[in-house]
Subunit: 397 residues, 2 copies
Amino acid sequence: MARMVSDEIAAAMGSSSWIRRMFEAGAELRRKIGPENVFDFSLGNPDLPPPPEAADALREIADSLSQPRALGYPSNAGFMPFREALAAHLAKEQNVPALQARHVIVSCGAAGAIVSFFRAVLNPGDEVLVPAPYFVEYGSYCGHFGGRLRAIPSKPGDFDIDLAAIEAAITPSTRAIMFNSPNNPTGCVYSEESISALAALVNRVNEGRDRPVFLLSDEPYRFLTYDGVKVPSILDKSPYAVVLGSFSKSLSMAGERTGYLAASPDMPDADAFLAAVTLTTRTLGYVNAPIIGQKLAMRILGCGIDLSIYEVRRAKMLAVLDAAGLEYSCPKGAFYVFPKTPGGDDVKFVGHLLKHGVLAVPGSGFGRPGHMRLSYSVENDVIDRSADAFARAVRSY
Amino acid sequence: MARMVSDEIAAAMGSSSWIRRMFEAGAELRRKIGPENVFDFSLGNPDLPPPPEAADALREIADSLSQPRALGYPSNAGFMPFREALAAHLAKEQNVPALQARHVIVSCGAAGAIVSFFRAVLNPGDEVLVPAPYFVEYGSYCGHFGGRLRAIPSKPGDFDIDLAAIEAAITPSTRAIMFNSPNNPTGCVYSEESISALAALVNRVNEGRDRPVFLLSDEPYRFLTYDGVKVPSILDKSPYAVVLGSFSKSLSMAGERTGYLAASPDMPDADAFLAAVTLTTRTLGYVNAPIIGQKLAMRILGCGIDLSIYEVRRAKMLAVLDAAGLEYSCPKGAFYVFPKTPGGDDVKFVGHLLKHGVLAVPGSGFGRPGHMRLSYSVENDVIDRSADAFARAVRSY
């Protein structure tokens, strides 16, 4: 057989992601038992429409298309009026009044920002620490450029960051510590105290260090928390902090790939760093974030989707888990819950759930076996109707 | 100074692209002598608006935004109705009736497709051959993953592919031969004869070869040719052929980053190849091409911009060069011309032009010193008014 694919990607295809495998299993199940009997909690795709203001905003953009270069290239770092609006927005959110447009780069989603970032800062052999469980694609994002992701188990129970474990894992090869809050897959939100301690650790480690350790906060779910919980700011806590975000979830426009990277205004040599990320954004072929997405997000930046919808879903989901007798840590944000799987073997239990029409993703897919991820970004009715299937599955296991 | 940037990117920043340098020189010049006295031929950004049909198409998309997941993730390989439409379009254009949606991947512009392709097929140390002059970013695109671009000088005069030179350069490390037609920066269109011979060479080389050589045609300017010249199809000439294209120029929507990759339907193990490119599209953080761009391009796929505008500009540009006594090969496509620079030192001559308010890009920036690239994607009036500046610059050199 001709070898059409590189050795590394051929290996990656062999171990293709759990989310992908569940997606395929779900398609087969729908054909077999009918879509109404399938309860799919495997996808992190927000199912709400964009805010109602989006339609008029898009019509405004349509009205402007007769201008020359209406959809031409903006600067690689983003459409300047949007960068300015975003900087003003983030200055408040991140408690850094000094933040300016030049500290903000508009990206092809948060994922594009992370990949551009890694390309800009990683030397081959550099390590990136991440509390586990974590979003599994992080490994690929740094692996493209010879970086290595090291998962540091979070504390049992509430999945809080284990600061001592992270400190113990830092070596001269450490180039970044990244975290995701509200967390995918656990729904946990790291506390002000945890984040401050982590930032203080990074600042201490970087004293006199030739190649500093970056502190990366991936926060596409920042807008979505429950019970009055607030996601702590990070740019005000460390000059080495970098925030990554997107409008995929907050404005339900995941397919339009519009996100951003913002650096602490106190970062040493910030201009070189930002120029490097702008360069890699260009040479990685993103070139710029989609111009329609940028102009759309700029117009509806202050809008939001109805969070109470997710609040109701969370309550329903937790009621289903309670009734089935499944143990979990109550999620404080995002639309995920990460219950323990009975018996400990998550892959086996998820396979068993599948027989009852329920699709979940094994915790093994997020570097934390013994659990499973359920996404409740699905309709109320599906959650309600899944109660029987969950209860039967647990009873019969 | 803290080292915020990786060693490789720090080096790349030091040798930042000529186009970028001219962009900055142009901004300074506009401030100094006024924008009306600057004749900027340095940019490859189409300055026309999108086709008139685009506005209504975008309004239709706006009307559909109230549906759940209206702007949600499509499949990583693209929005299926668009892939189907694109496959039907390319089957005719490329003379391959067997081409189906599964052979087509929608990408974040042609650049995104190239980077996804290289990540999918290159092992570190693999070589990519390209006729020079060539679009300078190709080097970065394969360099991200340990690939190495080898420029093979095209024939003097008309810049036709030097087949013997390419054949002589093929080694066991060769993984791809890529070309760009209509060509940036020369405007040349490779003939049916040249492309057939190149394809035959690739087919012959691949007989019994374990890791085949791909034949990559980067053709964002396919729609834009003059004097009845036709760009030859490629997918019908080799099972190892891959086409990369975009709507950046043909629909004047460069900022919306919507392009594609299509593989020969006769490619051995095509499914593995296409699955690999789909995987790298995801893990490189593109995730999917922008959904609004996909839906927009799908609706206006058959539309075009007014080519006669470029035809007039070409005539005006060539008249300016004739009047100034500059030598060139008549461009058959795209909106570039690549004249010889008097005296041979292109960087020096471009610097001299700058003093007369004319911005060009030295051929050195495209791997071909002794020439300069002029983009006539600018208004007629600017071309006309530049005649004096060109003539004075050449006279005083």
